[in-house]
């Protein structure tokens, strides 16, 4: 690439002084990073795991301030641009009241367990909580609307207090925590501006259709909101099921429409693993075996995942439904969230302080444990993930709208920036032009959008650009993943589009590995391999105009030491074989969709 487009821009800084802002371009969308899935002590489970942080701590931590977590001072190296605290709607903020000696829980068994703020009391209460959750049972002592309302108002006030338009954005949000039979159907609900009077809890209903009904009522009341399902990987095949609804009714067009209207996004990664794909589902994807979490929620039982659990497969399943019903319910954009129960979005691999209270504090015991209450060893937790959005400004409106139009990407915790555009008429010199981003917007569509109808006989072209996280590993490669469906049958392909160095694909088309600079004894790596920036154009060589297709991009870093390896070195422990010693951090973009003529989008 020989373009030097930033230089004219540099001169224009001076020029503007004389000619005024009229010449300035329309505001360009830039990447903002944030976490839209975080729990504090307002979540019952987090509180019982001895997390004592409040949303106050969360919003301060996200902005780069130091806060205390489990007796340690913790701080992000790079602050975040936005944060939605999403505490569990179920009795949100109520259990904290047990800390008040004469509070509303005094005289109840919860009050007795928690009065002394002891680990043992909390552990006993936690056991009871898990029991109630597993049975979807109510907890009588917490069934106090006035109490719930005052806790909710307090919680909303934190989000409003820390909203600083243009500098730091907060959202009113909560998590609806449905997990019938420990099968994860959780959704985060995020509001564009004003929040609701009360959240919707799975104690009212654990059926997503009832959540959508709640959301529809909120819209009628003038609010704007969306829901983000997550952890399909732990749903036992329920999350993206195409068989029947949760209540056992057959799938209808109305059901699919409501789902798509309420759920534009899904979380591709978080502390409980990635939900992109599983190596057994994608045997030809050499990067599929990444941060796997294979358990149900809260019990040491493995989840089934043959169908309905992973997003890549859901992209095909959605296209099959589209052929049948005329609507694709799984046109899902991708975001990342931490789901940490610590109150702090500490996604930096080098500064991860644990994520689930006294279940995984930064200790030798955490590194060496081979199991936990939920089955997976604590070292299996991911120091992940973040959401990137392409937005005009750091405001609730601009960021929410980016989420709504799915101009989003998820990262495994870092700040890789990825752009992705699709179109039919990108010139071969597009990327060498100084204004290529603006052209890509006008001549094509960004991530999250549908390809416009194309000229006959042409295959679509995609542009992808990835810029490394300035505080992490260089980039290995950028890929485009395609899921194609025709006649109810789907297939997936992974294409390398741009890569570092002068590597050449072998005769089978496989690109050699980027190499590895990780020194496990020191938990260190060198950016002597890989690239700072990768970009390229790619025209689909296997395009079938009569098949539906979902395309998304994935940028992959060089290997770096995993947090568990960094802890082991710092605390002088051997590595736990239950966790990989290093990882290749990554970013996943929302897809761009192609629908054949004659099929409704």
């Amino acid at each position: 690439m020989n373009s030097r487009w930033s230089k004219p821009a540099l001169c224009s800084v001076a020029l503007l002084v004389f000619v005024g802002p009229a010449l300035a371009q329309a505001p360009e969308r830039i990447a903002f990073f944030g976490d839209i899935h975080l729990h504090t002590s307002y979540s019952t489970d987090a509180f019982l795991l001895m997390t004592r942080t409040t949303p106050d701590d969360s919003y301060r931590f996200a902005q780069g301030q130091e806060v205390e977590y489990l007796g340690h001072r913790v701080k992000r190296k790079a602050p975040l641009d936005f944060l939605a605290v999403t505490d569990h709607a179920e009795y949100l903020g109520v259990v904290r009241m047990a800390l008040k000696p004469d509070g509303p829980l005094k005289g109840t068994r919860w009050g007795d367990w928690l009065a002394g703020d002891t680990v043992e009391g909390s552990a006993a209460a936690y056991k009871e909580l898990l029991k109630a959750s597993g049975e979807s049972a109510k907890i009588d002592e917490f069934e106090n609307p006035a109490l719930q309302k005052s806790a909710w108002d307090e919680y909303v006030a934190y989000a409003d207090k820390y909203y600083a338009p243009g500098r730091f954005t907060t959202f009113v949000a909560f998590e609806w925590t449905s997990a019938p039979g420990n099968q994860n159907l959780h959704r985060n609900v995020i509001f564009r501006g004003k929040g609701p009077d009360v959240p919707f809890s799975s104690k009212e209903s654990n059926d997503p259709e009832q959540l959508w009904a709640y959301m529809e009522r909120q819209r009628k009341a003038g609010l704007t909101l969306l829901a983000i399902p997550h952890n399909g990987n732990a749903s036992n095949g329920l999350m993206f099921s195409t068989e029947k609804t949760l209540s056992g009714a057959p799938i209808t067009r109305d059901y699919l429409e409501r789902r798509r209207a309420n759920e534009p996004l899904t979380e591709v990664a978080q502390v409980k693993g990635q939900s992109e794909t599983h190596p057994l589902l994608s045997p030809n994807d050499e990067f599929a075996s990444f941060e796997l979490y294979e358990y149900l929620i809260g019990v040491p039982r493995k989840a089934n995942f043959a169908t309905g659990s992973y997003i890549r497969q859901a992209y095909g399943a959605g296209q099959a439904l589209q052929e049948k019903f005329g609507i694709n319910p799984f046109k899902l954009g991708l975001v990342g969230g931490t789901d940490f129960h610590s109150g702090v979005s500490a996604t930096e691999e080098s500064a991860y302080p644990g994520s689930h209270g006294n279940q995984d504090p930064k200790t030798l015991a955490t590194i060496t444990a081979t199991t936990s209450i939920g089955g997976e060893p604590p070292v299996g937790a991911s120091a992940a993930a973040l959401t990137g959005v392409w937005a005009e400004a750091n405001t609730r409106e601009a960021i929410f709208d980016a989420l709504q139009r799915k101009e989003t990407f998820g990262t495994s915790g870092g700040r890789i920036q990825v752009r992705f555009f699709g179109g039919w008429n990108f010139g071969s010199d597009t990327l060498s032009r100084p204004d290529w981003v603006r052209r890509a917007y006008t001549e094509g569509v960004p991530m999250g959008d549908d390809l416009k109808a194309g000229p006959a006989g042409l295959a679509p072209t995609f542009i992808v650009q990835a810029l490394k996280d300035p505080d992490s590993g260089n980039l290995d490669r950028v890929q485009i993943i395609k899921v194609e469906t025709r006649g109810g049958v789907s297939k997936e392909q992974v294409f390398d589009v741009a890569w570092s160095g002068d590597r050449k694909p072998d005769l089978t088309g496989k690109l050699p590995s980027v190499g590895n600079t990780v020194d496990l004894a020191k938990a260190s790596y060198e950016n002597s391999i890989g690239a700072v920036e990768l970009m390229g154009t790619w025209q689909d060589p296997t395009f079938d105009p009569s098949a539906s297709a979902t395309y998304y991009a994935r940028a992959i870093e060089i290997p770096t030491p995993r947090w568990s390896t960094r802890w082991a070195v710092e605390l002088g422990s051997p590595l736990n074989p239950e966790a990989p010693p290093m990882l290749q951090e990554r970013a996943w973009t929302s897809p761009i969709w192609y629908t054949p003529p004659g099929i409704a989008r």
Binding site: P8, C11, E68, G71, A78, V119, V532, E533
Partner: protein, 290 residues
């Protein structure tokens, strides 16, 4: 870890528990460095070799060399952790998991008793704290600058640095900036950036600090970012300033509360330290006097 310390691993296993009670303790690894027991249980021995090892550990963790003040701080941390470690040991925290948990809880309570959340302060108290600790309530410095980027993708990182240094020599006011350096994928000029914003955009490298020290209106460098090397020209700069009390009210309240907690823990530790004799072999006796 030195092989000549048979008890080290067992001790390490107890270290996590200690962490719960070491509110504010920073040096996670310091307990690893426990020496062979001193003569008496009530005596804590600090030798030059120990200080050297603390310093080494600090280097490993932070990548920077501790100066003399930092060294003293490391020693004080060590003494504090050693006292608490021995306390924990005397409570037989090393015997059995159940016992560990129970004792730990008691211990935690013990510290917390003094470190309870303080009452809501009145305005006069907060105003006094705002005046006493102005350094805590500063609006950050801001800097605006242009830059030219030299990417390691086309050379090595060292090649990029050299190219930047070379270009700096040739750069004049009339240089055609468009012909210098490489396309930077983000912006070519940044306005009113705080140190934190610079880290956000460029990573924690020298470019996060250099613009605050560089001469205004002159091209300087090369400075490093997480992307490569840059020449920078600062166009405007504003130093950090004290926020008026009204604007800093929330900050003052948070800082005051956090300080009250620190003071309470400090008081507790001072009580503890009266039960120990600290022997400083790393410095002369004269200096060792508190």
């Amino acid at each position: 870890m030195p092989a000549d310390q048979p008890g080290t691993l067992a001790r390490l296993c107890r270290e996590p528990l200690l962490h719960f009670i070491l509110i504010g303790a920073f040096l996670a690894g310091a307990v690893q460095l426990l020496q062979k027991p001193a003569k008496s249980d009530q005596e804590i021995l600090v030798t030059p070799a120990l200080v050297e090892r603390l310093a080494n550990l600090y280097r490993l963790q932070t990548g920077s060399q501790p100066d003399s003040r930092r060294r003293e701080w490391l020693v004080q941390n060590y003494i504090r952790e050693e006292m608490l470690f021995r306390e924990a040991k005397s409570l037989r925290l090393d015997e059995g998991d159940e016992l560990v948990r129970r004792r730990l809880v008691q211990k935690l309570e013990f510290l917390k008793a003094d470190a309870a959340i303080p009452a809501e302060p009145d305005e006069a108290t907060l105003r006094a704290y705002h005046t006493a600790r102005p350094e805590l309530f500063l609006a950050p410095a801001k800097v605006s600058f242009s830059h030219v980027f030299f990417s390691p993708d086309k050379r090595t990182a060292e090649g990029a640095r050299k190219a930047a240094a070379q270009e700096l020599e040739n750069l004049t006011e009339s240089s055609d900036l468009a012909s210098i350096g490489d396309r930077f994928p983000l912006k070519s000029a940044y306005d009113a950036m705080t140190p934190a914003a610079l880290v956000q955009v460029f990573g924690p490298k020298s470019i996060a600090e250099a613009p605050f020290n560089a001469e205004v209106s002159r091209w300087t460098g090369p400075v490093e970012s997480g992307f490569g090397w840059h020449l920078i020209r600062v166009t405007a700069r504003a130093p950090s300033r004290l926020l008026p009390f009204e604007d800093a009210l929330d900050m003052v309240r948070n800082a005051w509360t956090s300080n009250q907690l620190d003071l309470a823990v400090q008081k507790r530790l001072e009580e503890l330290s009266r039960r120990y004799t600290i022997v400083r072999k790393d410095i002369s006796e004269e200096k060792a006097k508190p």
